[in-house]
Amino acid sequence: MPLIKYIDHTGAEYEVELEVGKSVMEGAMENMIDGILAECGGCCSCATCHVYVDEAYLDKTGTAEGMEQELISVVQEPQANSRLSCQIFVTEEMDGMVVRIPKAQY
């Protein structure tokens, strides 16, 4: 299973093996990784699962579009590699990917 590494704002690292097809948000929820709130449960409504994706993997994850892109444009400290982690569904090619969790989701 692809290994995803989450790094929170304090620098703490969590490595998680995720089934293909699961979202990066679900991986955080299942492994008690703090800092991703996912209040809406993954329906792209709340923007509380914001992460920064490792630049090297952006071509694998794609960038935010539509509703997700609009939500991201107003999160705290948006960057070009910002994504909502509920909209990143893990593939084999994402093995080794690092996602960074922002300091705050509000």
């Binding site: 929820m29 299942e30 008690m32 329906c43 409504s45 609009e70 939500l71 107003v74 509000y106």
Partner: protein
């Protein structure tokens, strides 16, 4: 012996409370008690994706392994009958009793039933849990003509879902407009128009007074004598908080289990979270009971911190969402007692606009339809407690982000 926290209600609040206990350093036992045969699951999809036959399981809040890994014992199919506070015991329907050191009520709410003649005919449904969704799903496969009683969020979300499945759909609303309790008239007009465009018939000022049929429902009769054909009826007329256990244990109840800003009841060893609580919100300067997932999660976190002896006051602005057709409605804040509604965008055409609710010039809430940017801005404006300029928020030519700099 290790301390034990028992959580009654394997709900959004209950599951999150269990997780938050571990994240907050609770080392003792955790027992999560649910009356349904399922692990905690997401309820919002019940009115939408859960009605698709292809969906075989509820959408779990956390996988089964999560509970094992975190040493959270989940007792399913388990009914609590009584709380003995003097002996700190939870009594179960099967006769067992469980000792607790800390107790959490996450008992949620149940549907309000329509008690009118014919209410026990077949073909009449309510929606609160996964089994309800399965029953409705089954009924949809043969039904042609659905009548939904109640023009609230559940009624309208179901109208959209059933319409997509090709049923004829009529919504009967008791008041003069849909969403009457929760939105401004303009927002009601907007939703009525969109549902009409999608082929749903919405009839207001209709009070269902009798179900007619031979074995199964065939018609809904209203108090004014009008009748509506139906081979499927779903009633969505609100919920009642599940407070009986708390009340019989001697705790204060007032449209919800009464808790303070730390989610504590008057018993120092008992907390409560979610739809079942009547709680104070300092940001809104009032007590209220909310029916919402974000509130359930936020309050569960507060309750967990209290249980762990690290109390932190709950002070979050509520927010809600509702998905219907191609529309995402996102609501920031709580619009009670608004004195001004300012619109941004055209509610009479298209499917994208914002209704800002102001009270004495201050933003208190916003209904955002297909307007994610404005929703995010509204949340931030609320968090900062800023006054807003009515002309400014109405000007659709301005980037909504500019409102944050005003």
């Amino acid at each position: 012996m290790a301390e034990r926290c028992i959580i009654i209600g394997a709900s959004h609040a209950g599951a999150h409370l269990a997780a938050c206990l571990r994240m907050s350093g609770w080392k003792g036992d955790i027992q999560l008690i649910g009356s349904e045969p399922y692990l905690p699951y997401h309820r919002p999809p019940l009115s939408k994706t859960a009605l698709n036959v292809a969906v075989s399981d509820p959408q779990w809040l956390r996988p089964a392994a999560f509970y094992e890994k975190n040493n959270i014992e989940v007792l399913l199919n388990t009914e609590v009958t009584h709380i003995d506070r003097a002996n700190r015991e939870v009594q179960l329907a099967n006769g067992d009793s469980l000792a607790y050191d800390k107790l959490a009520f996450c008992t949620g709410a149940r549907v309000r039933k329509l008690r009118i003649p014919g209410a026990d005919l077949n073909g009449i449904y309510y929606l609160r849990d996964w089994q309800d969704a399965l029953n409705i799903r089954q009924a949809i496969s043969t039904a042609k003509k659905a009548v939904l009683i109640g023009g609230g969020y559940i009624g309208l979300e179901l109208a959209a879902s059933l319409r997509k499945k090709g049923l004829d759909v009529t919504v009967l609303e008791m008041t003069e407009r849909v969403l009457q309790r929760v939105t401004a008239p303009e927002v009601s007009i907007f939703f009525s128009r969109v549902h009409h465009e999608e082929g749903v018939e919405i009839v207001c000022n209709k009070v269902a007074s009798e179900f007619l049929g031979d074995g199964a429902v065939g018609k809904v009769r209203c108090s004014d004598g009008s009748e509506f054909d139906a081979d499927l009826v779903i009633v969505g007329i609100g919920v009642i908080p599940n407070t009986e256990l708390a009340q019989s244990a001697g705790l204060s109840v007032d449209d919800g289990i009464v808790v303070n800003e730390f989610a504590q009841t008057e018993d120092p060893d008992i907390v409560a979270a979610g739809d079942c609580t009547n709680h104070p919100n300092a940001m809104l300067n009032t007590r209220l009971r909310l029916e919402s997932v974000p509130n359930a999660m936020e309050q569960a976190k507060t309750a967990a911190l209290s249980v762990c002896g690290k109390p932190q006051a709950y002070a979050a602005h509520p927010w809600f969402w509702s998905d219907q057709y191609d529309m995402k409605l996102q609501i920031a804040g709580w619009n009670q007692d608004y004195d001004q509604v300012v619109l941004r965008g055209d509610y009479q055409h298209g499917r994208s606009f914002v209704a800002w609710y102001l009270k004495q010039g201050k933003l208190i809430a916003a209904d955002c339809i297909n307007r994610p940017k404005e929703f995010m801005v509204a949340k931030q404006l609320l968090a900062k407690g800023l006054a807003v300029d009515a002309h400014h928020v109405a000007d659709d030519s301005l980037d909504p982000r500019s409102l944050l700099n005003s």
